[in-house]
Symmetry: C2
């Protein structure tokens, strides 16, 4: 390992960077308290050592639930300008981080442009690029070498990426569990699929697991946070919480321990498709097995049957997951399971996931987070329409709908008109003055 | 009481009407089992004794979670044709029941047309009409007489309405609790507001509570199900689970007992705005206090800050409420808190609430309800796109999005293209044939 100090090592000495001070704004914890969580490994500050970030954020215990928006090209849709519009839409809609999952066009160019233009931390999944380049170079994904896998991670880190998803828990052991149990949807994580195919074809252990020290060296060198990916996340509610998923989780818990020993920041990724009655147990299991590491969930999607509405399906699962302890929600867009999201999908997915995150924050820490809601309800009670729009999580949408519903004298809305319950009862309760 | 036999009395004798046989289709319970729940008071079959219903449904313990869509005019928007379009939109989108909450135009004519044209059970809130007519007749809502209140209930029942919301739990005692505790949003239920104003102005107890026997007589005469309304439901998350709400709930529990003694079907209505960490306790409390009566929730809305997205906010709360035991979800539309829903809002609200209900059903009874999801995931794994659309909860939406995302050879979508995880791994796991 090289001698560069990691963030954790700096924080241990009481050296709090200004980036962390800024990340503490709007949080229930002060910078010093967040620093303690980072040192413990129960929070992370995703910030590549090479770059500054306009809107940094910390993720983890005691903090506001964060929202990630995935953008990126595919072979079918590869246009840098489109990706930069999606980046802007995500950030404007309030995403705390973005991930560039590009798999088409000039992947390096897109990533560099996203990092250069993003006001928020940027994550990637380097194995996608390694696999695509292996396909081009060797004619097959499974011909990918260990050097190529780690090379992609290092290239992304050197470009200033703040966190990388690495599927180090996709092991022969977890794969055996998957093969013996059987699944409706097998493997739906691309990284999980590529590495599982690699293991089966090469009859060898996953190099990202076997040579995890090499991953730790890269993470230290660039201060890149490791997001330990869940290659065996269930892709059907019937597959949730099975042996393959939990076997991988156990490995991720082991790797969290190795990150902590190495002074490397780590978080853990979670499912996936999970029926509602298994969401709480999934979060608790992940938190217990992975020693309180920040838990980053994709969804969870609580049913498989609603394509076109999967942002809402994920919002339901995400709200409950975060209320139960998940720290970070990856958005899902209305196009999930059908196609690559476009700009409006990015916006919609981000807003809906922020709703889920805020609903969870009210449950996690009502004392800190409920004042926003109460201010909104006071404006509602006082029939102050402009103020309600200003206070809305999405003022653009609220203002647009209101414009269509407004009644002439502004003393009610088209729902109740003169028979507004709040207006009516204020006269009798004598609460009219106090709330206006 | 008159001598007409109620449904409960018929079922006690083993006489199961064909309407109940039809209501049992697609349910985890057989008609005889549902009959036992209805006799116990833990399920209801909302079906006015005077009429037949194309798509009847039972609501309660062990049954599929049901979805209600509210339609109806306001003083600002009163057009019978529009309401009939909304009725059709709700039923086509899969609403199990509709409620006509009209407060504008010719209220009697709208209600009669809705009852005549509805394929599903119809509910109303007669106190709205009583209040509006009192305003017209006496110049004030609080001048309404007890005869006018009960007269409105009877008029609705005589028109064939299948269930009526009656705010019999709005009592002087609950109102005192509200006044002494104080609230951010006071009273947001219109029925609750009208009756509270009446109690304060007249310095008398709520006639709907005081003369509850008269309500039972009407319910028996027309076999109309009583939906015991929650006039003190919280309208701000800060107001949730307070003394006024729980005091009213205790009264509703008492009235459930009186309904059972009288052979009258009853359900209980619940909140409202409730933060996520109080949803489960609200459902359990209602079920315990109201002796397992079917529980009908409006939302619950888990945050106040997202106008324009309140169908989603309610979907989050509703899914968790139903998974915890609520039996019946009243939809919320994207226009909630801003205006009266239009046809497209009715459709969107119904679909999103059905998603919440199905997510809850997977949690309540995965053995019975998960086969739909698994069939979808098999179609997804096999890349059978048309089949996925057919199986979708909203095939119209799924088909529309897919049409924009389709790739030429149909072997993937624009998200992953050739790098589809499911397609890739099937080769290595050897699962390709078995799933196609």
């Amino acid at each position: 390992m090289d001698e560069r100090e990691t963030l954790i090592e700096r924080l241990r000495k009481g050296d709090i960077p200004s980036l962390l001070e800024r990340a503490a704004e709007g949080e229930p914890l002060a910078a010093e308290e967040i620093a303690r969580e980072i040192v413990e490994g129960t929070a992370v500050l995703c910030a590549n050592g090479l770059r500054d970030i306009d809107r940094p954020c910390a993720i983890g215990a005691g903090l506001r639930t964060k929202v990630n928006a995935n953008i990126g090209t595919s072979a079918e849709r590869a246009d840098l300008a489109v990706e930069l519009s999606k980046l802007l839409a995500a950030v404007e809609a309030g995403a705390d981080t973005v991930m560039d999952l590009s798999t088409g066009g000039d992947i390096d160019a897109v990533r560099r442009a996203v990092v250069a233009n993003s006001a928020v931390p940027v994550g990637t999944v380097p194995i996608y690029q390694a696999a695509i380049e292996s396909q081009e170079r060797h004619g097959s994904i499974v011909a990918m070498t260990a050097d190529e896998m780690f090379g992609a991670v290092e290239r992304h880190a050197a470009d200033g990426v703040d966190f990388v998803t690495v599927h180090c828990g996709v092991t022969t052991k977890a794969l055996s569990a998957l093969e013996s149990t059987g699944r409706v949807a097998d493997i739906v994580s691309r990284g999980g699929a590529f590495l599982s195919g690699w293991i089966i074809y090469n009859e060898r252990e996953n190099p990202l697991y076997e040579n995890f020290d090499r991953m730790l060296e890269i993470a230290r060198r660039y201060e890149v946070t490791l997001s330990l990916g869940d290659g065996f996340r269930p892709g059907a509610v019937a597959d949730a919480t099975d042996a393959a998923q939990i076997q991988e989780l156990i490995t991720l818990g082991e790797l969290v321990g190795r990150c902590r020993e190495a002074g490397v920041q780590a978080m853990v990724e979670g499912p996936g498709h999970v029926p509602l009655h298994q969401v709480v147990e999934n979060v608790r299991l992940a938190k217990d097995i992975c020693r309180g590491a920040p838990f980053y969930v994709l969804g969870p999607l609580v049913t498989d049957v609603a394509p076109g509405y999967d942002h809402i399906v994920a919002g339901i699962g995400g709200a409950l997951a975060a209320a139960s302890g998940a720290d970070y929600l990856c958005y899902v867009t209305p196009r999930e399971h059908l196609g690559l999201p476009e700009e409006e999908d990015v916006r919609e997915g981000t807003i809906v996931t922020r709703i889920a995150a805020h609903a969870a924050d009210l449950a996690k820490n009502p004392g800190f987070f409920m004042s926003w809601d109460t201010e909104m309800s006071r404006a509602r009670k006082a029939l102050k329409w402009e103020r309600q729009v200003e206070l809305s999580l999405d003022p653009r949408r609220a203002g647009g709908v209101l414009a269509e519903c407004r009644v002439a004298d502004d003393t009610g809305c088209t729902m109740c008109g003169e028979f507004c319950a709040m207006k009516f009862i204020a006269k009798y309760l004598g609460t009219e003055e106090s709330t206006c």
